[in-house]
Symmetry: C2
Subunit: 200 residues, 2 copies
């Protein structure tokens, strides 16, 4: 988009979907480059030739703008998993989680930092980033219960999503050696399936 076109778009009170995507891309680029602290309304305005007033009018605050950018971009990585067996589904989730982390490590890092540093962002990130992933894993488990593979009263069910996310979150504690695809697969086979009393 040319500078003139961008300025004209910024003047419109109604932002087009293309323009919105462009703004969100700028936010995510800033996040990757320098973390949450480096994202400012001024910086986004300057990069996108968008008026600051427009940003404030449309998104209110920086946490809201960042959350909207993450929500739009993010596909729920665990959505759509359905291999026909619980073991297959959890192994697929392990594979996807590991490959997703490799693909956009800088963004994941920036989000993790922002989450821990900014309480004002936590509720929004829980809703837009975490809850959909938990819901997708819960759907995998619900289907296994329906198929009769998994006992609905198994007390491990409520720990599958937290254990999964915990394993992804501790990788750095242990010199990044826990969230690769083969370790996550072993984790599913050695910990989750036995706890769920499901044979691989």
């Amino acid at each position: 988009m040319s500078t003139e076109a961008a300025t004209a778009a910024a003047r419109r009170s109604k932002i087009t979907p293309e323009r919105e995507t462009e703004l969100y891309d700028a936010v995510l680029r800033l996040l990757r480059e320098g973390g949450y602290d480096s994202v400012t309304m001024e910086g986004v305005a300057a990069r996108t030739k968008c008026g600051k007033a427009t940003l404030y009018r449309q998104w209110g605050t920086k946490p809201q703008l960042v959350t909207a950018a993450l929500a739009q971009r993010r596909c729920v990585v665990f959505a759509g998993i359905d291999t026909g067996t619980l073991a297959g589904d959890l192994r697929e989730a392990a594979r996807i989680a590991a490959s997703h982390r490799e693909r956009d490590a800088e963004l994941m890092e920036a989000v993790a930092q922002a989450f821990i540093q900014h309480p004002d962002l936590r509720a929004a990130l829980r809703e837009t980033v975490i809850a959909p992933e938990v819901a997708a894993l819960d759907a995998v488990l619900a289907r296994a219960v329906e198929r009769g593979e998994l006992d609905a009263d198994n007390p491990a069910i409520g720990f599958v999503a937290p254990c999964f996310m915990g394993m992804l979150r501790i990788e750095r504690l242990f010199e990044e050696r826990f969230a690769d695809a083969s370790t996550m697969r072993t984790f599913v086979d050695a910990v989750l399936l036995p706890a769920l009393r499901v044979e691989g």
Copy 2:
């Protein structure tokens, strides 16, 4: 310690253990109050009436000073657990982990932030804070193998420490509802013991 005594102590090239403890306390207080970024050599010097030159000479850099302060203060929370059974030991670890977090939440928060933000601190924190806890949990598992309670080849063994730390680290992702004592206990009973093929 009076100001004169402190100034005199700071002038000594050899720092007394009491003085060292006082300096470390000041570092940890700054960490709790404002996080890692708020700890500066200047700030520690001012609070303790210690010469900046002494701080630099004795500790070299801020990451080294912070790590030394954490290492001295920290007792390994999982050390000394020995109830006689693996189930008892892991439940004790769950109880201790939950109560420890409650006791010094600000410091834990500051350390978690520093860990994620400062790659230069990670290796030191792994060595002083994480490795001793992992070693203590590994000792619990080794004793269970010796007693014949646990199969030495069980593939879940290597995941006990990471799962434990993962559960503690994700509490904030889920509105702080995962690392309390009763949830950690259920986690041990519902996930770890079945994965280890050990009866509670």
